[in-house]
Symmetry: D2
Subunit: 139 residues, 4 copies
């Protein structure tokens, strides 16, 4: 599956009084990585919204394990990919490493929500289009 | 002028590795206080947006002085009021105290932006309506 | 088990361009609720840190289900309690409702980490003290 | 003066329901840019803290003008430099542009705070060391 890799610096704004990353910050990073992954697949979010009636890919479920803390000043590496496509949902997997050590692992289950063609206020989950899926199959 | 007062607890999420409030957090609080002030004046933001074609009251200028730090676990008091109405802008003043001591002072200059009646994509600054101003004059 | 209940207003700062709560914001709220729950049990975080050599109760695992979105201007109710104490960890359960409808459910697994008495730089997980557990047993 | 330039993408997490950058987010970016500027000058924050007894360079004053909004999906360019060194404070200037247009301008006044050598709990503002100043003079 198509995989993106980013290196992020742990900055002052990301840390709590224990001088480690405040844990919801990881989920903010992973949300961003999902957008980068879509962009790497030729599907930048802003364009998806404009051209596909897509309202968003909201989370319905998230799980994360926090194995090692990340400290102010650390550089961390995040690897993100779609782990699985289901009918109208998909699971994005994120793994954050410090050097070779797995520090955080996260599984986001997201749904594909479109605005109803006849009623712009109605939103509904929709099957993920095949051409969208295909873009994640190859690296 | 109508004035609101709130007491907020400095929580873990608000603090940085120095164990004090990360300074942009103050501005997040003050932005929230502006919304509370409008609501206290009978103008809840959500209703303003729905019924007045208001797009928002975006900031054009902000100034803040940070006199004393606020620490994790502190309770702080914020007092907010409109300091001045100009033609299409207004200044909201926020003062955050720890006990009797002034800790942070902030001046937000905001503009009144409405969607154009004939062109929903066009936005323009507009004079603040007199009935809106009147609601801030009395406590 | 001791349970706390809070009502929170969904504010501008909490929302994303879809006008709903940006999902990591829920986890920031739940982290805050855990601190409130400890305070309600007579264990305010700042005091725990000062008097028990506690470094924190970092998360090792989080799971959340997002059932209904919360919109700008909504009031939401959060109910939080310790669902289970294990040896050196515990699970805090948070349920966020809109009216009677369950909107978000979250399970935080946290560990009790103390500074080593002989080596202040060393940290280790420790059994949750019995007197701490006892404080959560009664409402 | 030494100047750094960064390009940032406006992401989902940065935006509010008006689909533009939530204004305190600019100040979070600028705080980060100050750290990058110090690092570019050979003074990474984490090292400053460890080796210079530096507690931080807290803000005492901030001013910002918001000229143009930045929208979800935009790429913005930030240019940061020290505008002025005073005795124990300095002004960091940040200018954020969309293409050639100045969108946000910010002036942070920060103080140089060190831990007292004899009393680690006491903090005091100190003259900015000459060798620190020298590192910002040349690009």
């Amino acid at each position: 599956m198509r995989t993106i890799r980013r290196t992020l610096r742990v900055e002052w704004a990301h840390c709590d009084p224990a001088k480690i990353v405040f844990y919801p910050q990881y989920l903010i990073w992973f949300d961003s990585c999902t957008a980068w992954l879509f962009e790497a697949a030729g599907l930048p979010t802003a364009a998806l919204f404009a051209h596909h009636n897509l309202v968003g890919t909201p989370l319905v479920d998230v799980r994360a394990r926090f194995i090692l803390p990340s400290r102010f000043g650390d550089d961390v590496d995040i690897e993100s990919k779609v782990g699985e496509f289901r009918r109208s949902s998909f699971v994005v997997e994120h793994r954050l490493r410090k050097g070779d050590a797995l520090a955080v692992e996260c599984f986001e289950t997201r749904v594909w929500i479109r605005r109803h063609a006849d009623d712009p206020d109605a939103m509904q989950s929709q099957p993920v289009p095949d051409d969208v899926k295909a873009r994640f199959a190859v690296e």
